[in-house]
Amino acid sequence: MAQQLLIVVLVAAAYTAFGALSSLVAYAPTDAWTVWLASGVVLGLLLSLRRARWAAVLGGGFVGATAFAFNLGSAALEAVGYGAIEVLASGAAALLVSRLAALPLRFHAVRDLGALILAGAVPLALVGAVLAAAWQLAAGGTGFGTTLRVWFISNFIGTLLVAPVIISWAQFRVRRSGGMTMPAFTSGAVACALFLGTLWLLFSGSVAQRFGGSVGAALTYLPIVFMSLVAVLWGARGATLAGFVGALIAMVCTAQGNGPFAGVEGFLGEAQLEVEAYALAIALLGLLIAVLGAAQRQAAHVAREWQTRFEAAIGAHRLLAYEWDPASDRMLVTGDTLQLLGVAPERIAMLADWLALVAAVERDGVAARFDERVRGRGEADTLRYALRGSAGATQAATDEARAIRDHDGALHRIVGIVRVTAGPVESSA
């Protein structure tokens, strides 16, 4: 119970802090909150923690939203209403995401990213916008459409900037070794410094004065390159964090009337929206690259595990598997050839390399049987002959092969399994 209460307090504090951060980029003349980062905190935590923690997280969101609204001058009932909207919108979005992806969410596949955007950020923003607009209408306010639009955009962008940071960092564990190497970290740090540095250079002042003409606008593509590098080198954690910090730099600077977007648009509110779309696009691009990289690493990991299991099985039985393409004479041998034959597998690239390992007196006979196999119809052909061992000793090999043919009966490959046994040799070649 104490732990649940602690979570409520921490989430409420984080919600309030991110709400305050959002006010930095709010457009003062119209009092419009162009980005609402706090919703991302609640959704990000819901998608990262066990279901048993959801009540505490939603409770923290409710307390944070209510307190924030009350602090801004809302009446008590109105503030409670905003708190309830936060709970309903975030809870509904988290439930939807859980239907599409396994929780806690991990950015190991594009599906996870898609679930976050389509089942998380969009419903959260939509449900919140509808409820907020309805609530305002019920309270006698006007501007249903404006509230709907502003609420949707600010929540959608804010959620997608903050939630990925929380989701990716929630999986962080201190490890003794493994993970990112120091060279990758250092290279990523350089890329990150360049990303944030160029953003700062572009957005911290007037680009017209700093670069002249339309050069400033063209340079807005440069951070995208560096963000891509950060994503490749640092993965999802680095990409989301850099994306979030970069977005803050761009948005805060634009809110202060600086940067390429403020320079182009006469009305600063438009520039705010444009820079948010720009920052979001960069952040999502970085996350997408990181997710694709993670998916590739995951696939490689699964393949490596499969290979390890396969090699353990055939190694324990002193087996080798081969694939011979009679058209090119190329041969591919799988298994511990170094241990069994004293030759690295890449040294057996052609049938001739394999035959060179066969005892000299049997070589011609074995070669002839390989030729016969080409004419086979797919039945198993067993051949016993002597192979050179790793220590130069002769050992017995039982070679069972089959021809693989296509639907037209054309030969595709000869595939075989060779069992190598130490001891005297019998030949059937």
Partner: protein
């Protein structure tokens, strides 16, 4: 907080005479790493025991139970535990070697320094003097900041992750599976506070390494993912090149006692300790550590056993890994060591209770004695008298290896006969068939044509099945005869054909042996 200590005698040997003067075996004190158990040291215990050492070990405070028990344990607790164990066992041996793995090597080095250890040698396996390996996390430098935050050291977990210090993917999969099964061979994580204690231990060693006075071997992998070669270089430089030497491994990560280079590690350590290892060349290379009188007495005792045909009794005089090398191409041929020596001795008795006789005068060269002798045996009316010489290799009072050099191998091959396929029932029919196929090629006399055709037909029926295709023409007499023989087996099932083939080959092998 737990701490337990263990002492193990050499395998199957009561008191191996490692020291000629006192006849008391040397001891080795082994210390495991952080979060680990004796599993960290791989087969080193067994290898050392087989080489005649008495091994001592302990479970360090906070280990062997739950990771949470490590909280509150300090570097001084670990040092205190190893010092106490050292005082407990050092008087038991004329020489006591110290050996540690990972953090255990830091402790071994600190122990050697504090106790001014010169009673034996020091082996440091993958000592992490610097935490700077290629896979150490990027945030490793931040840990000093975290130590300063109250509560973080106890609550933050530092987890063991892929690659688990192991380069060999098969072994890594085994270790991963052990972790998943929850086996208590290594903690899955340790509190950050423990890393702080290791840092303190590293600082203590870096200050005092120059005071280490014993001969030291540092074994370190170039690709150690936790600590780079800089650690090994530091220690060798600090202790001094005259006393310290280094072995660099090229195919392992941090857990060098279980990874690809474990055999190199074991041999390096045993050689460094001047241990007895099977293999005449090794025995020649090493000091026998026996007086000439002791060597002569050992040869006399060995000859007595060989003269009585008591091969099994030889083990009383030998190290557990005693090796016997029997020449020729017969059922007794090959190198038989360890467990397979017992099987060989039993098989030899069945081969007509052979014994050695007519011993000549031994010729000595360091730990080697060359003794002319005659091998005699009698079975089923057949008699063996094979002249030759026995090479007996000794070390530390123990017989390491026997090699028999027969003057005329053919005599023994004929007497013992070729290795027959194992009796059906003890192995699968497939394996018996394979063995029979191999044995058929070792026949000295070519069977007559009828037998060859019978073997051919049974072989084809067993391996291919019923004959198919057209009967060869009358001019192709050989293949026609083969085809006809095979045709006669038509309908015979595979197992029957295999069994008949095995029986037929075994008859031929047996008749040759007689």
């Amino acid at each position: 907080m737990t701490e337990s200590t263990t002492t193990e005698r050499p395998a199957a040997v009561e008191v191996p005479a490692q020291d000629a003067a006192t006849d008391t075996p040397d001891g080795v004190f082994l210390i495991h790493g952080l979060g680990g158990t004796q599993y960290d040291l791989g087969s080193m215990h067994k290898r050392l025991k087989n080489a005649g050492f008495v091994t001592h070990s302990l479970t360090l405070p906070g280990h062997g139970t739950r990771p949470e028990d490590l909280a509150g344990v300090t570097a001084e607790d670990w040092i205190g535990a190893v010092v106490a164990k050292y005082h407990e066992v050092r008087a038991l041996h004329p020489r006591l070697h110290l050996m540690g793995m990972c953090m255990g090597s830091l402790l071994a080095a600190v122990l050697a320094q504090r106790e001014r250890h010169t009673q034996g040698q020091l082996v440091l396996l993958a000592p992490p003097v610097y935490i700077d390996g290629w896979a150490t996390p990027w945030y490793r430098g931040l840990r000093s900041l975290l130590y300063a935050i109250p509560g973080v050291g106890r609550t933050m977990k530092v987890e063991e992750e892929d690659p688990f210090g192991i380069k060999n993917e098969q072994l890594r999969a085994i270790v991963k599976a052990k972790f998943e099964r929850g086996e208590n061979f290594h903690y899955r994580w340790v509190p950050l506070e423990c890393i702080r204690q290791v840092d303190r231990l590293r600082a203590i060693l870096m200050q005092g390494a120059k005071e280490i006075r014993c001969r030291t071997l540092v074994v370190h992998a170039r690709e150690d993912e936790l600590t780079s070669l800089k650690s090994a270089n530091f220690l060798v430089e600090a202790i001094g090149g005259g006393r310290a030497r280094m072995v660099v491994l090229e195919d392992s990560y941090h857990m060098i006692c279980v990874d690809n280079d474990r055999e190199i590690v074991a041999r390096s350590v045993l050689e460094f300790f001047g241990a007895a290892m099977p293999g005449a060349t090794t025995a020649l290379a090493n000091e026998p550590k026996m007086s000439p009188e002791a060597l002569a007495a050992a040869v006399t005792a060995t000859i007595a056993k060989l003269g009585a045909g008591d091969l099994a009794g030889l083990r009383e005089l030998a190290i557990p890994d005693l090796a016997w090398v029997q020449p020729g191409i017969n059922r007794m041929s090959g190198a038989h060591s360890g467990k397979s020596f017992a099987a060989f001795a039993g098989k030899l008795v069945q081969g007509g209770a052979p014994r050695f006789t007519a011993f000549g005068t031994p010729v000595f060269n360091r730990g080697i004695a060359l003794v002319p002798a005659t091998l005699v045996a009698q079975r089923d009316g057949a008699r063996l008298e094979s002249q030759g010489a026995l090479l007996l290799a000794f070390h530390g009072g123990k017989l390491l290896e026997v090699r028999w050099f027969a003057d005329e191998l053919e005599i023994e091959d004929a007497y013992f006969g070729a290795a027959p396929p194992e009796a059906p029932g003890t192995i699968s029919l497939d394996a018996a068939f394979d063995a029979a196929v191999l044995a058929s090629k070792t026949l000295r006399r070519a069977p007559d044509n009828d037998t060859l055709l019978a073997l051919y037909s049974l072989y084809k029926q067993a391996s291919v099945g019923d004959v198919a295709g057209e009967r060869p023409g009358a001019l192709d007499m050989v293949n026609r005869a083969k085809f006809d023989a095979w045709s006669q087996r038509k309908g015979m099932d595979r197992e029957s054909a295999m069994q008949a083939y095995v029986d037929r080959v075994y008859q031929l092998v047996s008749s040759e042996a007689r």
